[in-house]
Amino acid sequence: MTSLQTPDDVGTAERFSRWADRHRKWLFAGPSIAFTALLLVIPLGWTLYLSFTDAKRSVRRDFDFNGLENYLGVLTDTERFWPSVWRTFAFTAGALTFELILGMVIALLLWKPFRGQGIVRTIVLLPLVATPVAVGMMWRLLFEPNIGFINEMLSWVGIPPQPWLADPSTSLATLTFVDIWQWTPMVALILLAGLTSLSDEPQEAARVDGANGWQRFWYVTVPLMRPVIVAAVLLRGIDALKTFDILYATKGKGGGAFHDAETLNVYAYGLSFDYNEYGIASAVLILFFLIILAVIWVLQMQRKGRES
């Protein structure tokens, strides 16, 4: 009978190797957990901390806690904060609605194989691969009221020049259009992936039962696609809420002279980089973060509700 080794007899290397074997998942995940903590928790914590202080001009200066003053100031600000909340949602809702409808149409068109499919798909995806800042610059030139191509084109059919981005009443809608132009392909891509993974049987069964094209789409395809559609809404919606690049590239700091394209992101950026109001900017960002969390939570709850 061989005597059992007591733990003391085992070499350190052996012990570590056994331990490592048992805790593989933690060991492998450790570095990425630490990395995430470093990149996510620390900045977020610092922002949260700043949001309760009167930090301004420079964070190297002395600053004091001022409790909820920043939050109160921001939440009672009907001149910049609430309008930018409204704009953020108007922009997101407008863009998302059109992107879903158009994305679905494009996905349905590309669903069944046809000649030249490869080329058509590539062309449809082109806006997606363009850099947003370059896209912003490009549309800014196209929409230029006096020398822009869009007004030139309109003049061929006798429509007078429109101010587009230059007019506070049309700029946000114009920017929503640019967002739709750029991001519809992504939604189409997600939906197309969902469509191609659907099996043919339900469609055939519906056809045998005499359902027409629209009925098959509405009562068969859409319900089957629901998880994919929700995923597309989540991905694109969160992204649209956070849009910054095209807004900044076309309208600059403050979202234009009348803040007409100022969303929460642009507002927070202006507070921080233009006004050097770090405390207030942090409060706006934390509120923005909470808003996004709330939106995700609502969407998730809805999904769970439907599933159950």
Binding site: W19, R22, H23, W26, L27, G30, P31, I33, A34, F35, A37, L38, K56, R57, S58, V59, R60, R61, E144, P145, N146, P161, P163, A166, K251, G252, K253, G254, G256, A257, F258, S272, F273, D274, Y275, N276
Partner: protein, 439 residues
């Protein structure tokens, strides 16, 4: 859970190790050259951050000479104005030592940066070198790079409002160059009536961007931003008239849609394309008008002193850009060597020859240096220099915010809105801002 606590410990250790590795990666390796003797900068790298400007383009071509003379290596990062500000806000805020020399806008940032402790005190450096001669710098611009009696920057570019005009259009209309704001308005109207596709006057329209150029109108009407008591004076009758005049001047004499967000590049573009008769803007930008590769009217541009208002002709005369040393730089001496070279009398004269409007008196007195300037421009610069006011925006800590507040009535005036109401609310907001800014 025998290993439970150990697991936690290992994860903690791993995290700390990862953090340490990360931080080590982030921190730049310092080259630790400490004190550098004059003229001996062998192997030293000087990091210089510059804005897009004629000055920058010129100095870049000359830098190899400096590198050859001193053995130093100059690394330049060049950015547009807005991006440059953002860069400073991030890097200087974090106490970086990656910037040694910075090009900044004294009117916009001197008070803020100096009070934040971003700028090194250069008093002993500038005053300790008689040959380089600090007293040669014009007093107005030099005072703008001084903060609480400490010299924190060396002005490199000065500018005044000058009136650019189209000689051919004025001649065709049979008009003299306007010397008063009334004449300017009349001339703009007459030229637009003759040439419907030409705007009588074009100017900056962006809320914040327009403030500096509007200042000349404001002062000439007898107004200013802030009174001696530290309170807003933009609600005065003079200021109201100036707002109204500026808005009318841009709005009334054009058939084109007015872009409400123009800074100088957009406004200049209109003039360069021959679509405007007058524009009052910084004289330091004159090359944009006279360079045939940029301007279709390069040979038809005239220059005149700023026209007189009720209180005479009062353009601004300021230091637009200056060089400073980053307080947290580890190579302050090398940085000073660079600044001293870049702002020396010889260099300034060379720059002046290339069309840069510098801050040294000696360069303006050197006939050879200013030989290539359009004679009319030199004359206008001289007159404007004498009449000039030393600021073109409210001199406060948080200038960006102040510009947006006082710029609001400009935008309303250009759009043809209710100027009085806009001024009333701007004045209220400005007073609140001033009370907080001075804290």
């Amino acid at each position: 859970m025998k290993y439970g606590s150990k697991t936690v410990r290992v994860i903690a250790t791993a995290s700390i190790a990862a953090v340490a590795v990360g931080l080590a990666g982030c921190s730049s390796s310092s080259e630790g050259d400490g004190d550098v003797a004059d003229g001996d900068l062998d192997g030293t790298t000087i990091r210089v951050t510059l804005a897009n400007h004629v000055w920058t383009e010129t100095i870049k071509e000359l830098i190899p000479e400096f590198e050859k003379e001193t053995g130093a290596k100059v690394e330049i990062s060049q950015l547009a104005e807005d991006q440059l500000s953002d860069q400073y806000n991030v890097k200087l805020n974090a106490g970086t030592d990656e910037i040694d020399v910075l090009m900044y806008r004294p009117l916009q940032e001197n008070k803020l940066f100096a009070s934040n402790g971003y700028l090194a005190d250069m008093t002993d450096m500038v005053k300790g070198d008689e040959k380089w001669d600090w007293s040669d710098f014009q007093a107005g611009p030099a005072s703008l790079t001084t903060y609480e009696d400490e010299v924190v920057g060396v002005p490199i570019i000065t500018e005044r409002t000058v009136l650019y005009y189209r000689k051919d259009l004025l001649e065709a209309a049979g008009l003299e160059v306007p010397t008063t704001l009334e004449e300017l308005d009349a001339a703009a109207a007459a030229i637009h009536a003759q040439n419907p596709d030409v705007a009588g006057y074009i100017g900056r329209t962006g809320k914040s961007a327009a403030v500096t150029q509007f200042s000349a109108f404001l002062y000439s009407f007898g107004g200013d931003w802030i009174g001696d008591d530290g309170k807003s004076t933009i609600g005065s009758d003079e200021a109201r008239s100036a707002y109204q005049y500026y808005g009318d001047l841009i709005r009334n004499h054009t058939s084109a849609t007015i872009n409400p967000e123009m800074s100088w590049p957009e406004a200049f573009a209109v003039f360069q394309q021959g679509k405007a008769a007058f524009i009052a803007d910084a004289d330091s930008l004159y090359k944009n008008m006279t360079d045939p590769t940029q301007s279709t009217v390069s040979d038809k541009v005239g220059f005149a002193p700023f026209p007189e208002g009720a209180e005479g002709s009062k353009p601004y005369n300021v230091a637009a850009w200056a060089l400073a040393i980053n307080e947290t730089s580890e190579k302050k001496d090398a940085a000073w060597q660079f600044i001293k070279w870049a702002t020396s009398a010889e260099q300034t004269i060379a720059m002046t020859k290339l069309g840069v409007t510098g801050a040294r008196t000696s360069a303006w007195e050197d006939a050879d240096a200013i030989a290539d300037f359009p004679a009319e421009l030199v004359e206008a610069i001289k007159v404007n220099g004498e009449n000039g006011v030393g600021h073109d925006r409210p001199l406060v800590f948080q200038v960006s915010q102040a510009r947006e507040i006082v710029g609001d009535p400009i935008v309303v005036a250009i759009a043809g809105g209710d100027v009085d109401a806009a001024v009333d609310s701007a004045e209220k907001a400005f007073d609140e801002f001033l009370a907080e800014d001075s804290e």
